[in-house]
Symmetry: C2
Amino acid sequence: MSDLDVGQAWLDALKWDAQGMIPAIAQDAESGRVLMFAYMNRESLQETVRTGNAVYWSRSRNRLWRKGEESGHYQRVSAVRTDCDGDVLLLSIAQEGGIACHTGRESCFFHQLDGQRWIAVDPVLKDPKDIYAK
Amino acid sequence: MSDLDVGQAWLDALKWDAQGMIPAIAQDAESGRVLMFAYMNRESLQETVRTGNAVYWSRSRNRLWRKGEESGHYQRVSAVRTDCDGDVLLLSIAQEGGIACHTGRESCFFHQLDGQRWIAVDPVLKDPKDIYAK
């Protein structure tokens, strides 16, 4: 907390986990909808801030993940916040194409708990085959 | 993903990390503001769903953290979502007192990156001394 206030290098002020990662929440700047949750390392956060396009760290592919590089669904970042502990990021973004999820939905958070079941409650806006077909 | 659809027990359908935790984002159901980020274990999520009040797992105190137990700032949960991977939760909440952060601010995400510095951009609504003094 105090690290965030004393002008220490902004990257060092964050709490990176043992793998050098910090979780990041992407929120639509206009609608307020939470679209995605992913991880960043230092390099991806630096590139995000430098370019204004969201760049994550893909833990499955073990490489930088420039969101939109395959889908065209880039995320323009208008603001970056962190919480009182400095261990999570909140990005305000404009979502290119209005689709953040690889399933073709606006948000990755499309399963809602209904009693004892998770129900997919949001529509598929675009067939993933048409998003990723090149 | 498919685990979420096939009617497997709803708790088993989630991806719990090696410590048995899942991250949870708390979002104000009305304003859309992201208020907090914390972790839940199975017990805390079950109690959250059963009682409708957000219960987290405090990693620092190593015990259930019934949000509001000291501050009175309870969170009434109106919906629980998860993402396409089933490894993050998104709670829609009504924040008692309009203050989620222990610093007396509405949201824990009150530091915004401004050039190379994190700036506290949100007002303190209530002095923490008055929140926690009992």
